[in-house]
């Protein structure tokens, strides 16, 4: 079986799994995605979600960050080590920076808020299914903020590249934070859409691999505001 997200997408609708504890919201998401995707299952708590996802191996898991039984993090940690091909898109109503940073660092390919419109949600699902990263303006803002305080002291012996955003990546993120779509970003910077994708994916990688302790500290600081 072709296990990569892109592979199984060819000629078909992405196979979606929905993890969300609010029945009303679940129904809303299902209605919005409609026939554009194939819904292969849903769960309302972490343990059941891990089991079902491991069994059905969907292309994309729509994952609520706040979930009974350990939250979205527990699902990510339960599935990804065994099935790294499953892509996760985090959904949250909280917007609390530490939640967002945590799920991204645990392996989610993107983060969107629950107020996202139907077409945007669908677009995000397709993008994640294709193996790309999805940055909402807010997530872009978080990342810029977290990486903003330059001159940080990276932990010794680690790749310093991981602890900084390149000027181009910053530019891309700032445009996304300003509400630009990837296509608009590409046009504005006169680069190809594919290049935008690769910049965003690279930022996501840095976000996941960076050991900057500022990231955590920044998130906790923000919480206390």
């Amino acid at each position: 079986m072709s296990s990569s997200g892109e592979g199984s997408l060819i000629g078909g609708r992405p196979r979606i799994f929905l993890v969300e504890d609010h029945a009303v919201f679940r129904a809303g998401v299902k209605a919005e995605l409609g026939d554009a995707v194939e819904l292969v299952g849903e769960a309302d708590e972490a343990t059941a979600a891990v089991e079902l996802i491991s069994e059905r191996l969907p292309d994309v898991v729509l994952l609520d960050v706040h979930l009974p039984g350990g939250g979205g993090l527990a699902v990510l940690r339960g599935v990804l080590p065994h099935h790294p091909e499953v892509q996760f898109l985090a959904l949250s109503v909280s917007d609390a920076p530490e939640d967002v940073i945590d799920v991204i660092r645990a392996g989610a390919r993107g983060y969107i808020t629950k107020t996202i419109s139907g077409p945007e949600l669908l677009q995000a699902v397709y993008r994640v299914a294709a193996g790309d990263a999805v940055f909402s303006p807010r997530l872009a803002g978080f990342v810029l903020d977290a990486f903003a305080h330059g001159g940080a002291t990276p932990a010794a012996g680690l790749d310093p590249e991981l602890d900084q955003l390149s000027p181009r990546e910053r530019e891309v993120l700032r445009l996304i934070a300003r509400g630009y779509t990837y296509k608009e970003v590409a046009r504005d910077l006169t680069i190809s859409a594919k290049t935008v994708e690769s910049h965003v994916s690279s930022v996501l990688r840095k976000l996941q691999l960076s050991t900057r302790h500022e990231l955590t500290r920044w998130a906790t600081d923000r919480r206390l505001v």
Binding site: P137, G141, A148, R178, G179
Partner: protein, 415 residues
């Protein structure tokens, strides 16, 4: 008891508005016509003369109903099995112990003072447990702090004062004892008493500890109940009301969105930022705060979603307030004219400048061909920021939405 006295006693009511503790002095003052201050002075003096008055006060607190009520705290306390057990469990061993100490040392006044005070303290516990909600609230917030029971916070000096007083009294007591028994051998009774106290602590200590824990748990439960009530009140006042409004205006989608957004923001501010609902300051001192305020107002006035992303933050000075004014105008402009259902604001604080972008994906416009009145708006946006050395760039093309870019140099630079 003569009938008219009995009648008068029955109609006795503790005062609610003029009270220091339970309002008993107020009740006496009202019944006798003597000014309450004199009643209080008399009461305090009699307490000093004889500890029994403290006990009498506690009994009166229990037995006299509060103004506007017909039931007494006593009527509830009598059913409070747990409370009575608790009081007895602490007091009986203590009283026995005191009696023994007073007996061995031949100091009658120890028993004389401690009996009524201890009993009054027991009644106090019963009162605290069985008073109605309003009075409990009064006790928790007005009376308990008088005891210096609040260890965290400004009442610390009270605690120090209490400890100092305790040490002084204790020292005085020891001095008296030593003076009364000049030979060392006669100090034996003191040693015996100390041993007795130690024995009592060993025997009853753990039990007392659990009782104290019970009391603490009860108090915490009460605090939690209060919080819950507050939460319920808030949810009712805001969320449920808004939901009702939304149901009523289900045929007006824009209004539904406006209501939902406003409610969402208020709830968010309450849950995640700790702003009490309804009292969000209308005057911001920080940039992010100012933008949030702007967002709130535009969303409320124009029924449009405003998405805000702020990177960094700094204090608002005059130029930055002008920047915010310009941003507000740009946002309102977009809300009114663009036809888009969402406006994005992005602000970034950099060491040298603050940048702010207001963007919509509406119909856009060609600056050369806009009507006079809209051009005026564009100009006023520009003039607001250029006055302080800033810069405004408006980018738009028909069908492509619009973006207003605002830049303001920072006066107060950070390293």
């Amino acid at each position: 008891m003569p009938p008219h006295v009995a009648r008068r006693l029955r109609t006795l009511r503790r005062t609610e508005d003029n009270r220091v503790l339970g309002g008993v002095c107020g009740a006496v003052s009202r019944a006798t016509g003597i000014d309450v201050t004199w009643v209080r002075v008399g009461f305090v003096l009699s307490c000093i003369a004889s500890g029994i008055m403290v006990f009498v006060y506690a009994v009166a607190w229990l037995m006299i109903p509060l103004e506007g009520q017909s039931t007494t705290i006593f009527s509830r306390a009598i059913k409070d099995k747990h409370g009575i057990r608790l009081v007895l469990a602490v007091e009986v061993p203590l009283l026995i112990l005191l009696q023994i100490i007073a007996g061995t040392l031949h100091v009658a006044y120890i028993g004389f003072i401690s009996w009524p005070t201890l009993l009054a303290a027991g009644l106090g516990v019963l009162i605290w447990r069985n008073a109605d909600e309003a009075e409990k609230d009064f006790i928790d917030h007005e009376v308990v702090p008088l005891l210096g029971n609040d260890f965290h916070g400004q009442r610390r000096h009270l605690l120090i004062l209490r400890v100092a007083a305790g040490v002084a009294i204790g020292g005085f007591g020891i001095a008296l004892l030593v003076e009364g028994h000049t030979t060392a051998a006669a100090l034996r009774p003191v040693g015996g008493a100390a041993l007795l106290v130690a024995a009592a602590i060993v025997v009853f200590g753990p039990w007392w500890l659990t009782l104290v824990r019970d009391l603490i748990a009860e108090r915490q439960a009460r605090v939690r109940a209060e919080e819950r009530a507050q939460m319920a009140a808030h949810v009712h006042d805001s969320v449920l009301q808004t939901l009702a409004l939304i149901q009523r205006s289900s045929d007006d989608p824009q209004n539904v969105v406006r209501l939902a957004r406003a409610q969402e923001r208020e709830l968010r501010a309450w849950l995640f930022e700790g702003h009490p609902p309804g009292v969000i300051s209308e005057d911001a001192t920080m940039l992010a705060e100012g933008i949030a305020l702007l967002q709130r107002q535009v969303e409320a006035d124009h029924g449009i979603a405003v998405q805000v992303v702020v990177v960094g933050d700094c204090e608002l000075d005059e130029p930055l307030r002008a920047l915010l004014d310009a941003a507000r105008e740009a946002t309102v402009n977009a809300a009114k004219w663009s036809g888009a259902d969402q406006v994005s604001i992005y602000a970034e604080v950099e060491p040298e400048t603050v940048e702010l972008y207001v963007r919509d994906r509406g119909q856009g416009f060609d600056r050369a061909s806009v009507p006079e009145d809209r051009r005026g708006i564009a100009q006023s946006i520009e003039s607001r920021v250029t006055r302080f050395g800033g810069e405004a760039v408006i980018r738009s093309a028909p069908g492509e939405g619009a973006e207003v870019q605002l830049f303001m140099p920072r006066r107060e630079r950070v390293k």
